[in-house]
């Protein structure tokens, strides 16, 4: 018998960098008072790739994600998403345009069940007016059933059926992270921003999460940008890596290139001055 299991090669290697640019960041600078969080950083994210942003503590990684999803407004520079230069926007507008994110410290509705949390990710897609939603009848009910089906597919995808009814506050940390990913996926985003998806996880949970991230990329074709500290994970998962240090871009390239870059090594190990 001759069966080859080569999903990566057969899938035309979406990570080969052939994809068009989905988001490009040009000469962004962000400062809070006298503190420069980001200075003159430019990079792009291509369609379908997994893009990692790494750097030592305080390098400006999370600030960069906050700029991308409109939470912070840079003093200088432009961002273009899907080819259009973006004006000053608020996070919910970014969400409407198809940018979803998870947070470094889980930001779920702790008292609500897993299911309700994920359903909340669909709220932007609900069209029925307030009246029908309030009485949960007619168009609102039909719509809810359809949304619920999509949510159930995500629950199935991330294998969290057993916690469907559990309030997320009672869940283990690793599972909360998974629920947060589920909620972000429920938005069916074009660009998914993951802020340290594996922080505080044990090895097994990390492996699970890595598999889910790869599956999301393969199955839904979602473009993913992630911040992560676990270098093994970053090198295995990502197609291209952006390295920040003190708010400045010090390297950008494939994992292998970045690993060999002297500036990166210095930033991580420190240099004697």
């Amino acid at each position: 018998m001759n069966i080859t299991a080569n999903p990566a090669e057969a899938a035309a290697d979406p990570h080969a960098g052939a994809g068009e640019v989905l988001l490009s960041v040009n000469d962004i600078s962000l400062s809070f008072g006298g503190v420069k969080a980001i200075s003159d950083v430019s990079f792009d994210i291509r369609k379908g790739e997994i893009r990692a942003i790494i750097g030592p503590n305080g390098a400006g990684k999370t600030s960069m994600l906050n700029v991308i999803n409109g939470f912070y407004h840079p003093q200088q520079g432009t961002i273009s998403f899907r080819g259009e230069v973006r004006s000053r926007m608020r996070p919910h507008e970014a969400a409407k345009q198809g940018i979803a994110r998870t947070f470094q410290n889980v930001a779920l509705f702790r008292g609500m069940s897993t299911l309700d949390n994920i359903m909340s990710g669909r709220s932007l897609k609900m069209k029925a007016n307030f009246f029908w939603q309030a009485i949960r009848f007619g168009p609102a009910l039909r719509e809810e059933i359809e949304h619920r089906r999509r949510v159930e597919e995500i629950i199935d995808f991330l294998e969290i059926q057993h916690i469907r009814r559990t309030p997320v506050g009672r869940l283990a940390y690793g599972l909360q992270k998974r629920v947060e990913l589920a909620r972000a996926l429920a938005m069916e985003p074009d660009l998914l921003l993951l802020d340290e998806p594996m922080a505080g996880m044990n090895l097994e949970e990390k492996e699970d999460m890595s598999r889910f991230i790869l599956d999301v990329s393969a199955q839904y074709g979602t473009t993913i940008a992630l911040i992560e500290h676990d270098m093994g994970v970053v090198m295995d998962l990502s197609d291209r890596v952006l390295v920040l240090d003190y708010g400045q871009k010090i390297a950008d390239g494939t994992p292998a290139e970045v690993q060999a870059n002297q500036a990166v090594i210095d930033a991580y190990l420190g240099v004697s001055h």
Binding site: N2, I3, A5, N6, A10, R148, E152, F157, R164
Partner: protein, 659 residues
Amino acid sequence: MAEARGQEQCEDTFPKLLLRNAKIFGANTAIREKDLGIWQSWTWAQVLEEIRPYSIGLKTLGVKRGDTVAVIGTNRPRLYWTFAAVQALGAVPVPVYADSVAEELAYVLEHAGVGLAVCEDQEQVDKVLSKSDDLPALKRIVYDEPRGLRDYDHTHLHSFEWVQEEGRKAMAADPGLEARWLEEIDKGKGEDIAVILYTSGTTGRPKGVMLNYDNLVISARNGNAFENLTEDELVIAYLPLAWVGDHVFSYAQSLEAGFCVCCPESMETIEFDRREIAPTYFFAPPAIFEGLLTAIMVRMDDAGWLKRRMFDYFLAVAERVGEKILNAEPVSFLDRIRYMLGNFFVYGPLRNRMGMLNAKVVYTAGEAIGPKIFSFFRSLGINLKQLYGQTEASVYVTIQPNGEIFPDTVGRPAPDVEIKITDDGEVLYRSPGVFVAYYKNDEATKETKTEDGWVHTGDAGFITREGHLKIIDRAKDVGRLNDGSRFAPKYVENLLKFFPDVQEVVAFGHERDYCTVFVNINLTSVGNWAERNNIVYASYQELAGHPKVYDMIERHIRQVNRELAAEPEMAGSQIRRFLVLHKELDADDGELTRTLKVRRRIINERYAELIEALYDGSTEKHVATEVTFEDGRKGVLEATLTIRDIAPEIEPELREAAE
């Protein structure tokens, strides 16, 4: 319906039963699966419509009479359908444990000469592929769940839907095909091999137990008749497909009686799924009942004052009269009222919580269940019973009949089963369910099955006064005391281990004058007790050596001795001396296996001095034991252990005679 069922004797294979069910129970639900949060169901007629094109599709892929087809995965409708689809072609399904590692899987596939493997998902497909070089006979793989498999090369790999589609195309192209498929089913006979089940042997390679249709259909029919199971039952299928119990409960009996099988959403959701389904017929190993009991107790600790009071009060009522009511014994009117109230406020909600609200009969088997746990569930009104079975017997050897439940026996011989005990105490049985042979292993068949059909169980046991079988130990572990009486270490150990204070016990007595034991205390349980009784201790060792702990263990042993004395076969094994070990037996020190079973040989070597001390009459012994810490460092633990004597109890009848 009665006439239709009257003809059932001619349906001697599962595909024939399937055709019958599609005809007479066509609109009844045959199988359910929870998917995307909703129970999806298929009626018997729909199941036939699913299986027919699938089976014909498999035929176009080359599956023919006498072939073997592996079925690898968890309980999903399509895998159950695979059994019938394969059997309809006269081929033999070989279910494989879904959690077996690639090597074990490859061994079974290779040994059974499997030409086609039906896998649940990518995980199983990957396992098979990783070993495909060692499996020259394997030509094709079919999978159920497509996730992750999209980009695999599909030359020899097919989805379930694709196979069905091939079948439909073939049927459309050749109108006579369906008739020939039905003829093929008609050719099936009772003595054809229905399935090969590989036993997960603890020693050596697994053996393939060949069961024919007569074995399974007759056993299933007897089992259904014994418990009065009809087409209205609901079961939840959650135990491994490759295990004979699931094959009989969720496949054979379902087809025979026409009842509905429910497949859970995932392995983690079984508790919820069971509650939603409320099966009427349910099976679980003792560990599940232990888990349920613990979960209830933990939750009750967090409950409010009123609920706790109610729970405690009604549980006491249930303990007093619950089992009697279940056994239809006389109970005072007032107690009946109390029990009814309890049923409303406590027992009913608890049964509901556990998914046993509608349970007609619940079986437990596999190993001994603690009598307290057993009685707890029965007192809540759950008809929990013990069953003793084997793969080689198509499950049934003995069952506890309604109204004759003794927690320490496994019941009477099941219908059509004969039992005999050899002079060595080994249990033998003969029944219509007795397997044909081990696949490609005549030597093992000869060792296990005699010329005239008796099967050696490898278990030692005896028949009690009530005519029930009592299993005491593995036959090879049973020894003799110097006075010639039988000594079954595990039997003695289990009696003592049922006390929550006791963690582990090792019994000695083979070729000795009397029985003695090492005891490990349970630190949680005894620690709690110490706290309540103001006993201060700094370490396990200190607590274990405390005279009051010795007193407590002595009381437990006296209780065990009374139980042993009441059993003439076992009276000689009463515990005469004991000591509480200064350390917990530990897998890191090689004293236990990784599955926490005692390694007798190692214990005999490591503690030879202590064993001698148990028999030389000394009351104290100083020992130094090497221990291995978790990080691999070694140390030495020194202690002076006390050894206590216990006077034996007298058998009740002798005592009466003496008075």
